[in-house]
């Protein structure tokens, strides 16, 4: 009967209706201070990813050798047909950037979800149980931290073959460490608090304590960390594609475009400039949103990343 201890206690302190409006007010305040430029970049990115067939002026993989290495429209020889020029196979750069957003969005979000889930779960387990379990998980994070992960990632992908799924899996198994370390710390201090003790006394099973009582209380931090991580995931995916170990060509990826363009940059600066700018703008926006979320959700800046 005491199973819902924490929920009951808090609803006694603040009746449901007033808490609801309080939260709405908080949300409104929160959204008012959102960095507008960064939010617009993310919005454009999402639009590109979801509506690429309608937004892209050309087929991203259609070659047209007659129109190879055309400069952007404002430079001599450029046309309005290819606003940002074409690559060495005559493919439209703008269209490839728009389609490339799909890969980056998928990798950014799924990678963070996977790494965040693994890391958060290990973090609350380590923090709640302590002792030997904690020691084992902490040594595991030490090992992961000391591994040159780009190398490990490349080695694994080299072995299991390059594909979108494999890149996401590699991100999931190599990038969870940051979550574990911080979430563990929070779970540790939480498990000493009164409402957790009450839950245990009232006969709550350990998995229920973890998932119902501890997990919701560390989610704020996990979300902040995840937001700050999206950019990192996108950069790593681009690096893999750049090395030819990501999504296979001719699928358009930002990293792959940089790899193709690198060989032609002496004659066609646009082939390396625009895809790079796309990555840079996306990552910058992700970092700005992450910083903003941290300032809002963690005003004392406990999450030093």
């Amino acid at each position: 009967m005491f199973n819902k201890t924490s929920a009951d206690l808090s609803s006694v302190e603040s009746p449901e209706d007033s808490r609801g409006s309080e939260q709405r007010l908080k949300l409104r305040k929160l959204s008012r201070r959102i960095p507008k430029g960064a939010a617009s970049i993310i919005l454009v990115l999402l639009l590109c990813a979801f509506f690429s067939p309608w937004l892209a002026p050309h087929n991203p993989i259609e070659q047209n050798l007659g129109a190879a290495l055309k400069p952007p429209f404002w430079q001599g020889g450029g046309t309005m047909d290819h606003l940002l020029g074409t690559d060495n196979l005559g493919r439209d750069i703008l269209s490839r950037i728009i389609y490339g957003a799909r890969i980056s969005v998928i990798v950014g979000f799924v990678g963070v979800l996977l790494a965040g889930a693994v890391g958060t779960l290990l973090g609350i387990i380590a923090g709640y149980f302590g002792g030997k379990i904690d020691a084992v998980i902490m040594r595991l994070t030490d090992i992961m931290l000391s591994l040159p992960f780009i190398l490990i990632g490349i080695a694994i992908i080299g072995a299991i073959g390059p594909s979108l799924t494999n890149v996401v899996i590699v991100l999931g198994i190599t990038q969870w460490v940051g979550y574990t370390r911080i979430i563990r710390f929070e779970a540790m201090s939480l498990s000493k608090s009164e409402f957790i003790e009450m839950a245990i006394i009232s006969g709550c099973k350990w998995w229920r304590v973890l998932l119902v009582h501890i997990l919701p209380n560390v989610l704020n931090s996990a979300v902040v960390l995840a937001t700050l991580d999206v950019g990192k995931m996108i950069i790593i995916e681009a690096a893999f594609s750049f090395l030819g170990l990501g999504v296979k060509p001719p699928t358009a990826t930002w990293g792959g475009m940089l790899a193709d363009g690198r060989l032609y940059m002496t004659v066609a600066w646009w082939t390396v400039t625009f895809p790079g700018l796309a990555i840079f703008a996306t990552v910058l926006a992700g970092n700005l949103i992450g910083d903003w979320l941290r300032d809002e959700l963690d005003p004392r800046h406990q999450l030093k990343v």
């Binding site: 040594r139 595991l140 030490d142 090992i143 931290l145 000391s146 591994l147 040159p148 780009i150 190398l151 490990i152 490349i154 080695a155 694994i156 080299g158 072995a159 299991i160 950019g231 950069i235 681009a238 690096a239 750049f242 090395l243 990293g255 940089l258 690198r262 940059m265 002496t266 600066w269 390396v272 400039t273 790079g276 990555i279 840079f280 990552v283 910058l284 992700g286 970092n287 700005l288 910083d291 800046h301 030093k304």
Partner: protein, 305 residues
């Protein structure tokens, strides 16, 4: 203090052991060395002979024990591609990686630490905002794109510096700058937050109340007390950079361990991959250990406990 150092040392040993085990697992995932070493038309007898010769017919746990024992002695076996021991190959490439990392970290220190300190002192002013925006930019630029653009501007367009290769100081400038972007961003942000913490301390307030000139407050009280933390940050970054320069070394054809490991992955030369990963991890762990020891040896508050 002695007990703490012993404990940290043992932890580091466990981490290194874990890294070695992981490289073993990865080598098993990467593929069958017999198939890699022999031509496809080899007879079953030849295969059986090589399997026995390499010890691959023994149970897996025994192979692991033998492997760990050999690695502990610095023996990773022979490279599949070069007629040399894997360890020797890594050893030959290590100086180039160390050189690049040291110069990169020096560049980063030169920019990031003054930036972090000034931003903290001038907190909230336009200088602070510019400084932190620069740091954010540095954090959001993918290293491989920064490298490509640096080559494009300083080697292709201006012709001031060589685009790639290994030689005198002018060869190291571009790759070191590429690596320094990310290092500086992290260092500047961490320096700023540490100086801010120190500025909040009571002893700083008392010094100001006492009428100590602001310049002396900053140099003698604030900076002296944050010096150790900043030193830590820089040392840890160095540990990360040595094993993490894979892509930078690739772009600039820099003959370090990063490029060596990438070449080895492409040709599935796994003794060399294992050697690189273990050495990079070892460097990281040793630097971490040293940093911890320096930290407790220099901080009188830690000594007491």
């Amino acid at each position: 203090m002695g007990a703490y150092i012993v404990r940290r040392f043992l932890q580091s040993l466990i981490v290194i052991l874990g890294v070695i085990v992981i490289t073993f697992i990865i080598s098993r995932v990467i593929g069958d060395p017999v198939a890699l070493l022999l031509p496809p038309e080899a007879s079953p007898e030849q295969r059986a002979y090589l399997t026995k010769d390499l010890g691959l017919d023994r149970p897996l746990y025994l192979q692991l024990v033998v492997y760990v024992g050999k690695v502990m002695k610095g023996d990773f076996g022979h490279s599949f591609r070069h007629q040399e021991s894997a360890m020797k190959l890594v050893w030959e490439r290590l100086p180039a990686s160390l050189y690049l990392s040291f110069v990169a970290v020096l560049f980063a220190i030169g920019v990031a630490i003054p930036l972090g300190i000034i931003s903290a002192i001038k907190r909230g002013t336009i200088i602070d905002r510019i400084g932190m925006t620069l740091a954010l930019f540095g954090q959001s630029i993918p290293a491989f794109w920064a490298g490509i653009m640096l080559i494009f501007i300083f080697a292709v367009q201006l012709g001031w510096l060589p685009p790639s290769g290994y030689g005198g100081f002018k060869y190291v400038i571009l790759p070191a700058t590429t690596l320094a972007f990310f290092v500086s961003a992290a260092t500047a942000r961490l320096t700023r937050s540490n100086v801010l913490d120190a500025l909040d301390m009571d002893y700083v307030r008392y010094a100001r109340l006492k009428g100590v000139p602001e310049f002396v407050v900053i140099t003698r009280h604030v900076l002296r007390n944050t010096f150790i933390t900043i030193f830590n940050i820089v040392a840890l970054q160095l540990g990360l950079v040595i094993g993490g320069a894979v892509i930078t070394e690739f772009i600039f054809s820099w003959p370090g361990i990063g490029r060596l490991s990438l070449e080895s992955i492409y040709s599935r030369d796994y003794p060399v991959i294992q050697a690189t990963v273990v050495i990079a991890a070892l460097i990281f762990v040793v630097i971490n250990l040293l940093v911890d020891i320096v930290y407790i040896a220099t901080d009188p508050r830690v000594k007491k406990n």
